[in-house]
Amino acid sequence: MRKFVLRYLIPRIIQYLTLIFVGITLTYIIPRLAPTNPVEAQVSMMIARGSSLDPDAIEAMRAALTELYGLSGSPVEQYFAFWSRLFRGDLGPSLGNFPTPVSEMIGQALPYTLRLLIPALIISWIFGNFFGALSSYYPENKALNVVEVLGQVVRSIPYYIVAIVLLVVFSYFIPIFPFSGAYPIGTRPDWSSLDFILTYLEHSVLPAATLILVGFGGWFVGMKSLTSNIISEDYVVYAEIVGLKKRNILVQYIMRTAMLPQLTALAMSLGTVFSGALIMEVVFGYPGVGSLAIRAVYSNDYSMIMGITIYSIIGVATAVFLIDLLYPLFDPRVRYQ
């Protein structure tokens, strides 16, 4: 047990902390390297909007904004102030929706993203791996070959295009699914009514389908190339000679082995998948974090973009860390060390 903690747990925790540290530091450095001064940009925008402010008020606003962006003091002081604000969970008020705090708005949008992303991720991972292994074990199967070609096609094309194609086909040419949003415009979310939940699900079909399709293609192709190596391993050949049932060989000998690298790959791909989900929301007008981000871009809501970036880094890092912690459950070698 002690060895497990030393050899396995501590490196993971260090990696987790590095990830957050590097990510947050990046988001700290980037705005400061940018040639535009966010405070001045904000001030001149407010002046341009035609508010008749006297110079004193503008000066006060400038000071408030400088405080808000954490731009007062030397760079080192700023850096520490930045972290201490983060630990308090204070990301400042949204500039587009003043004075609602950024964390509150993200908190409202996040469940929509997660309810879409997590099931889609799990479904595509399980099915992609399962069918990928099947198709490399039965290379003659026509149906699986068709699936493989489809998987390759979907996988190679950017998320956005897949989403657009599905949207155009299934809500424009063949209007079976609603055009955008997570519920009809004008209705209020009401989680106690069955009707609302049904329309919510109906609205979620297309976005979820896009996520699942793209994910499925990726896992399918990855799993296939993994298993095609495993199949020629001695122990598989031996199992076949001994005359074990094909299904048992596939599930217990092949899939089990290939599962481990695929689990690592799942952790590695989370950042990309998350980015994909954000794009998806923009295409489908789904009210999650992605849509929030895009609205923030249009309304020049700097603190919101910053907040979303920080949230995503911490969220993805934590998810990766959790998968790493699950890993010993699947790999006895780590467990018994």
Binding site: T18, G23, P31, A34, V149, I161, Y172, F274
Partner: protein
């Protein structure tokens, strides 16, 4: 798949590059946009620019990944650990929010070259890892030891002895990286975060969205760029897998029936 792999439908450097200097003809193969442009000819520019972004990004990130991969692999020890920790971080980081933040701040000075440089700075990590693992195995081979014993300095060993082995991987990953960066360009442009006056595949979609092309019934405005992107990506992807298969001696043997 096997015959496709040796006969990829696309030569990405030629297919769209030839006709862009011709005057627009009287027919409009892809229709025209609400902004009064011939979509087909506009898209020829778009494809060229998107490829440009892809290539610049690929070159930059290749240089970084080769440097990091070779150093980490050959030096090992704590340098290796630090470099790989950083590169793992880059692999896992959710890039899109960071890129949104970046391009939001740089919006005024955003042009294709800057975009490509930024993407290049973020797109090296996974391939660095690949190169490193290759070098790790090369380091144990006898020719490396011979070189070390005969007093060759480590820089020379890495450049002259190891780089040639690594190059095939580099070529294979270049195309993958190209696809990635072009996809990112499409994404950022669609969100309105790049230089919108330059035609690229992403800005084509951005303007179509901006004019509500689907709502107005101008469906081809969205469909054409989407299809062109899809075909281009698919072509490049098939090229990538076929090169990969060609480089890997095992599959090559299988293909010639060995």
């Amino acid at each position: 798949m096997i015959f496709l792999s040796y006969d990829s439908p696309y030569d990405p450097s030629k297919s769209f590059v030839v006709p862009w200097d011709l005057p627009p003809s009287w027919e409009h193969p892809f229709g025209t946009t609400s902004r009064g442009q011939d979509l087909f000819w506009w898209l020829t520019f778009a494809v060229r620019n998107s490829l440009y972004v892809g290539v610049v990004t690929a070159i930059i990130s290749r240089v970084i990944s080769i440097l990091v991969g070779l150093t980490a692999g050959y030096r090992g020890g704590w340098i290796d650990r630090v470099l790989m920790a950083i590169s793992d971080t880059f692999v896992v980081l959710p890039l899109l929010p960071i890129l949104i933040l970046l391009s939001f701040l740089l919006r005024e000075s955003m042009n294709l070259l800057n975009l490509a440089i930024i993407l290049g700075l973020f797109g090296w990590s996974f391939d660095a890892r690949l190169i490193r693992s290759q070098v790790l195995s090369l380091r144990e081979r006898s020719f490396t030891r011979t070189a070390v014993y005969s007093g060759t300095n480590s820089f020379w060993i890495t450049i002259h002895e190891h780089l040639p082995f690594v190059l095939p991987i580099v070529f294979a990953t270049t195309l993958n990286n190209l696809l990635w960066s072009m996809g990112m360009e499409v994404t950022l442009s669609v969100l309105g975060l790049s230089d919108l006056s330059t035609p690229t595949l992403g800005t084509a979609l951005f303007w179509a969205n901006q004019h509500g092309a689907l709502v107005a019934g101008v469906w081809w405005w969205i469909t054409a760029p989407a299809l062109v992107t899809a075909v281009l990506f698919l072509g490049l992807y098939l090229l990538f897998t076929s090169i990969n298969e060609y480089i890997d001696p095992r599959t090559r043997l299988r293909l010639i029936g060995g």
